[in-house]
């Protein structure tokens, strides 16, 4: 039972931290709980289906299907998180103001919440499919009774969700004025870490050169499978022995998203009176 609890906890933990950040990043937006829980529910259903096709996926694309699938999911999540950052930094001033002023619903209501729902769904899909495979393995192996197995699974689930809840409750104590700055930074680092993880899967599939295995090694200072190591791995993409190409993906994601926010975040030209185009065209 304890074995099942620990393994389920580990998988839920990662997804729960991501959901915790997403919930804090969308604080105050009406309808967000519906979007986020919808995303998670879709992810859980998807995880069950994914586990059914585990053999097919593993054998696809000459045995690299699993790596390609994981990399694709991670890169899709990176895109969604990037889009979230670009959107909030563009509307940052309105968001901060709306926290105090009336008309909050109007502005935050237009936030692209489906982006965050997709991120939560993908997290649930990735971690959930491993849980399904693992629990199926135990159940099929007859190693543990159904009661003990479900008790362990539920214990692990509760523990993981509790960690996500602690992170969320800690974040929402931050004053509204600063909250979106903090969550935007967290989302940025989350995205960069996922991009590095995707690069790792593409190296594993032999589609990318590692550009140097273990450019540095900090495993003596902080092991990746320690508690803090795992938390930092999920939150900021900590890797004890990163490949060169992982560092490249990490930095490129940071710079790429930053450039996008600069590019799209420029204040719009003043729109006073008649739009410039029309005034020139009308005789």
């Amino acid at each position: 039972m304890l074995g099942a609890a620990i393994i389920v906890f580990r998988e839920v933990f990662e997804a729960a931290l991501i959901v915790g950040i997403v919930l804090a990043a969308s604080a105050g937006a009406p309808g967000r709980s519906g979007w986020v829980s919808g995303g998670i529910a879709a992810g859980v259903v998807g995880a069950g289906i994914l586990a059914l096709f585990a053999s097919t996926i593993a054998a696809a694309v000459s045995g690299t299907g699993q790596e390609l699938f994981n990399a694709a999911i991670l890169l899709l999540a990176v895109g969604m998180l990037g889009w979230h950052i670009v959107w909030t930094s563009r509307h940052g001033r309105e968001l901060a103001a709306s926290a105090r002023a009336v008309g909050e619903a109007v502005i935050s209501g237009s936030r692209p919440l489906y982006v965050l729902a997709v991120v939560c769904g993908l997290a649930a899909l990735r971690e959930g499919s491993e849980i399904v495979l693992f629990l199926y393995g135990i159940a099929a192996g007859g190693g543990a009774g159904a009661v003990s197995l479900s008790a362990g699974g539920l214990l692990g689930l509760a523990g993981g969700v509790a960690c996500g809840a602690v992170l969320y409750l800690g974040l929402v104590r931050i004053p509204m004025r600063l909250l979106f700055t903090v969550t935007n930074w967290m989302v940025l680092l989350l995205a960069a870490g996922m991009a590095a993880q995707a690069a790792g899967f593409l190296v594993q599939a032999d589609l990318l050169p590692p550009l140097g295995d273990a450019v540095w090694d900090t495993s003596a200072v902080l092991r990746e499978d320690s508690v803090i190591g795992k938390v930092l791995h999920t939150l900021i993409g900590y890797v004890a022995r990163p490949d060169g190409v992982q560092i490249l993906f990490y930095v490129a994601t940071l710079i790429g998203i930053w450039l996008l926010t600069r590019w799209t975040g420029r204040p719009a030209p003043p729109r006073l009176g008649v739009p410039a185009g029309r005034s020139a065209a009308t005789p």
Partner: protein, 109 residues
């Protein structure tokens, strides 16, 4: 510019494929939630292919933080895991679904 980038990407992939053709294969068997053998010795600075055969009826995940690899292998199936080139040292791996029994390491010399 774009064509040049695509061309160089193509070259990178092609060189990766060339290396793949030369690398050595080591077989690792999973049976009764244990790895056989538990120690594999490989030369440093070379790409290696691990052929992991899961002879258990249940799925297992080959995982290694040291090697930065994770791959689910369904019951009764096999999968290849590309590793290296590696620096000399000891690299631990384990079965994520049975971490207590399924353990082993690669010694790079």
């Amino acid at each position: 510019m774009l064509r040049l980038t695509l061309l160089s990407l193509g070259l990178i992939f092609a060189s990766g494929a060339n290396l793949a053709a030369q690398e050595a294969t080591h077989t690792l068997v999973i049976k009764d939630h244990r790895f056989q053998p538990t120690e594999i010795e490989v030369p440093a600075g070379q790409k290696i292919t691990l052929l992991v055969k899961n002879e258990d009826p249940t799925p297992e995940e080959f995982e290694s933080k040291d090697l930065k690899r994770e791959k689910v292998i369904p019951g009764g199936q096999q999968a290849t895991v590309n590793i290296g080139p590696l620096k000399p040292g000891k690299y631990e791996f384990f079965g994520d679904f049975n971490p207590k029994t399924a353990r082993g390491h690669i010694v790079v010399k």
